[in-house]
Symmetry: C2
Subunit: 650 residues, 2 copies
């Protein structure tokens, strides 16, 4: 029998609600990663400092002098949390990095306070005081023009006018893996660079990946609509980042409480935990109580862009009755969230009335929450949704705060059987039409994608998206390449995510092991993030992103040289790698041993291989085989006669 | 400083050695999987009974009569362990399923005892009694012909003579997903079959996947060398299985103790645990003490083929000094293992002297243990290895027991930098030459493959392997698509494995989370197996293997209908799925609730979507949108006027 009421979780993890006075940052999120420190690369102005993580490495021990291994710079999403110079206080929020840039543009104005009805109501409700983040500033909005028309403060608007914003310059430095690798202090000897600098030519399927990413290149990509910079003027705490197929592949981590479980404090912890491991953006999908207050805490403390699905909150406002939703309620929600600083909105405006019956014969119908809500609304009212009919008004709102669209795939397939079907493709075409409308308003757009798709149908998704949506960035959930592994859908989807990232998808929305089964806890968030970092990086390698292979090379070099600590620290998750190693060989001495627990000392292929290499090198046998083999026999004979110790002991 | 002696694991998990008198089967391995029972499909003779797992499903509740969901048959590698009718006693080993078939062929003879020196020595060593499996029979070998020449008992030999063996018929029934799905008792109503029977046309890259797999098709594939049946006549306990690109993609699980850790008992447990979750073959890679005895326990209790790398044991026999290896020691080891019943041998015969210098400039040199041992041997002696020079004699041994070759990729890349390089491709060509030599002797062959390969270079591996090795089955380790995630290499490699399986790889060798870091424990074995079952199944789906999608459809149907127990039981790991679900919604009532913890009752997309579907169905709105939309408005108006309860409550 279906239950009418939410059931409670059996083990609530926090007995009391999160309180504004006692909020504390998760200590696990502020410890620097092992062997790492935060460094900043300065741009053209003093307040443009781009953060990286620098992983320091030990020297390679050789029979002669030790050979230094240069530190590695890696892209860092963790924000000020991993900078010991910064004292993080969740109650105050992060510093307003972008405030001077926004103010210099001189095209915005402070509002007296929230302009949404709901935002005002929450601000004035004294019972919410214990939950409320104490924001000391009011929202900002685009200043109206002399003609009284709303202004436009989107990065796309600037890009099309030829303006290179500080955000664009920040991004250029941040994305420049190749250039940073070759900067002073990050270069090794010629021999070390031969190894670190190797990179296979990639297969980009039309991606354009220049050796050096310039601010002008960033501007051009944004202007063309091929990339977006989600950067609401009310989220000045965020470090600029870009989503587009000609840049590094990004990943998103979802969090959010539901009616059933979870507290504000847990959600903020999941955010700081998610960015520590590499989430490029975070979506707050809360559907439970106090959505507004939860979101404020998250945004004020997030150095990465925050996305939402405003429909979820709008539905809460009409007590969960889909057919009671109205444009007015929805509009007020958009303004409420835009004034809080949400950087991108998922809008399911592509669910048209005539597409709904196309889902009736599916195995899993409509699995998108937003899509199903809108389908119900459309059927009930027998008209197109207010998202579709009011789309230009939504654009008007977005452009005044620079909220980007993430056009939702409300009809995405929820099973491999439903992949690439008529309903899905019909909606995708409509998303293309909406993209062109948004661009008319200089509003940034990306497109959401499936879902569940068997491997051989993945590429069609990417190709059709590029075709229908004029190369607007694609942002996909997985896709899951099979339905049969609940409990492991981070893996079923990680396979599809890596592939579609290679084919050109710009951002991959993570899936955790709890997908289809429950809400993720912190462990699940980490597992999902690491899985998706793997997928995104594998895609960068396959596309041939300049400099992407350097980290692989550095790690493999460390592995081959038995620099265990370096191997751990260069990995995506040093803690887990170290713990696994220590399960069998916990002694510190084992970490400098020239073997490991897998083979033991006698069978170690790495050790033998080192010997072979040393032998070849010492005897001038490098390079192509045939040419050097002639001299080998004599040398072998001499060494044989000198006794069994042919191979150098390191 | 490198250590000279093996170090001990800090926490030995078994204080005493495994004893022949007290050996007990792991209870976790003999419990039937939830909702499942073992069933057998009989072939053309009474002793040909092909095991399957039957997953029973609950009915779909509708507003009318409940609709039955037929049980699903799935391929089952777990052998007699999950059959409650069979009493498993590790000390006696499994029943000799294939004995009558082998004897009927009347081409083998009993030996008086082991014919290898080493096998005799171990059999006669009284101190080994507590460790020894008490085998009551002697080894079997091909009977010599009237001309005194060795006989040939390989499945390839029979296949080429047009003989369909019981093994081939067994395999045909086992592989026939489509046919079994349509058998009596496994069909649903027409509407249920519409959902369960849906399958996307696949993209097979040249695979030939008939709707029905006949015994004759199996014979043809074996005769052509495109598939192998690893089935040593001294392993009559094994249930026949096939490895070839025109069959279901298979997976292998590795186990094995090392000098550093692990006991016999643990290894047997890992085997029974691995086959429970789906390992199609098991490789015993032990390098520590008592390799011979460990292997005997594993083979006698294994219903799946067992592979080994005989070189590891040969090296133990010469105290770990690679250059002391001789053909005589190696030959004796082959016979020792063949007479125990090893079903396939990894032989690194493709490591030629002239290829060794090609690895000197690699980032990670030679990472294959076998490859590095042989490289060292070749360099030291400055001659081609005894594996290469005595290859025809190895064939002579293999054909008398039907041991298949798994030609080892000793020069596989150990980092993405080294992928697809000259050394790797040179060796692959040599493996092709060796394949043709083995085929001359009617010895079955598969080819091992890499390794570490970025995504865009994976397909070249498959294409070159098919070209150089004349379509002999490919058997790859991963490949890992990036090097940067130690601790998660089941995932980095699962991505590559799924892709290469799609492209045509016949068997995928699993990688566990401990890869590069330590030896896997039971949890790691399970994680590796499930990850690889995902990869293999995703590949079957993408290739379009007839019937492969039925399990996805059945699970997705259960998911959509909130049949939680069915969803768990249809998954690859019911225990984990159930546990994850119960973390948030543990009450039994939640398992029949029409929502879950992710969205709560109001936001449940599945629930709303069901309502949409019901509405569409009740109003004749199925199928294409435009045609049926005309009548919708009037219906919507009528329903609206009847009040808010438009949508049927289930």
């Amino acid at each position: 029998m279906p239950l009418d009421q939410p059931v409670s979780a059996s083990k609530p993890r926090h007995s009391a609600h999160f309180l504004a006075e006692t909020a504390q940052v998760d200590q696990a999120a502020v410890t620097p990663l092992p062997g790492s420190r935060k460094v900043y690369v300065k741009g053209s102005r003093d307040d443009l400092r781009v953060p990286f993580r620098e992983i320091s490495l030990s020297a390679t021990r050789t029979s002669g002098a030790d050979e230094a291994n240069p530190p590695l710079l890696v892209y860092d999403t963790s924000g000020p949390y991993t900078d010991p110079q910064v004292e993080v206080d969740l109650r105050r929020g992060l510093a307003e990095l972008r405030r001077p840039w926004i103010e210099e543009r001189d095209d915005t104005e402070w509002l007296d306070g929230p302009t949404s009805d709901y935002g005002r109501r929450r601000a004035n409700d004294p019972t919410l005081a214990p939950l409320r983040f104490e924001l000391t500033r009011t929202p900002r909005r685009a200043r109206r023009g002399a003609d009284g028309r709303a202004g436009n403060v989107t990065q796309l608007h600037y890009a099309r006018r030829g303006i290179i914003t500080p955000e664009m310059e920040f991004i250029a430095i941040r994305e420049n893996q190749r250039r940073q690798a070759l900067a002073d202090g990050y270069r090794g000897s010629d021999e070390v660079e031969r190894i670190l600098g190797h990179q296979h030519p990639g297969q980009g399927f039309g991606a354009r990946l220049p050796e050096e990413i310039t601010p002008e290149f960033v501007r051009q990509e944004v202007a063309a609509g091929r990339a977006i910079i989600p950067a609401n003027i009310n989220h000045p705490e965020a470090e600029p980042m870009i989503i587009g197929r000609n840049f590094l592949v990004k990943i998103n981590g979802n969090l959010g409480n539901s009616a059933v479980t979870s507290s504000i404090e847990q959600e903020v912890e999941k955010m700081t935990w998610g960015i520590r491991w590499g989430a490029d953006t975070i979506m707050d999908l809360s559907t439970g109580q106090n959505i507004h207050e939860t979101r404020e805490w998250i945004i004020r403390n997030s150095p990465v862009p925050i996305g939402t699905v405003p429909l979820y909150q709008a539905l809460e406002k009409v007590k969960g009755v889909a057919e009671d939703l109205t444009w007015e309620v929805f509009r007020d929600t958009l303004i409420e969230q835009a004034e809080q600083g949400v950087d991108y909105f998922t809008i399911h405006a592509g669910v048209l009335l005539r597409y709904v019956p196309l889902t009736a014969n599916r195995v899993t119908g409509i699995v998108s929450r937003g899509g199903s809500i809108m389908a119900k609304w459309c059927l009930y009212h027998h008209q197109e949704s207010f998202l579709y009919t009011h789309f230009e008004e939504i654009c008007e709102i977005c452009k005044q705060y620079d909220v980007a669209f993430s056009l939702g795939d409300g009809l995405r397939p929820g099973s491999v059987a439903d992949a690439n079907d008529e309903a899905q493709m019909a909606e995708l075409k409509t998303l293309g039409e909406l993209t062109r409308i948004a661009w008319k308003h200089d509003v940034q757009v990306m497109i959401e994608g499936p879902g569940h798709v068997p491997m051989h149908l993945v590429k069609e998704n990417m190709d059709k998206q590029l075709e229908y949506c004029d190369e607007a960035p694609f942002y996909t959930l997985g896709p899951l390449v099979t339905d049969i592994a609940p409990g492991y859908d981070h893996i079923t989807s990680g396979i599809g995510a890596a592939m579609i990232g290679w084919y050109g998808c710009a951002m991959l929305c993570y899936v955790t092991p709890k997908e289809h089964l429950g809400l993720p806890d912190k462990d699940d968030v980490k597992t999902g993030i690491i899985t998706y970092k793997i997928a995104a990086h594998a895609a960068d390698l396959a596309k041939g992103h300049p400099g992407a292979q350097r980290r692989d090379n550095a790690l493999s070099k460390a592995r081959f040289e038995f620099r265990w600590e370096d191997q751990f620290n260069l990995g995506l998750d040093p803690d887990t790698a170290r713990a696994y190693h220590d399960e069998t060989l916990p002694k510190d001495s084992a970490k400098v041993a020239h073997f490991c627990s897998m083979c033991g000392p006698k069978f170690c292929s790495m050790k033998i291989s080192q010997e072979v290499r040393d032998y070849a090198r010492d005897n001038g046998l490098e390079g192509d085989g045939d040419a050097v083999m002639a001299g080998m026999e004599e040398r072998a004979r001499v060494f044989r006669e000198q006794g069994a110790e042919l191979y150098k002991e390191v």
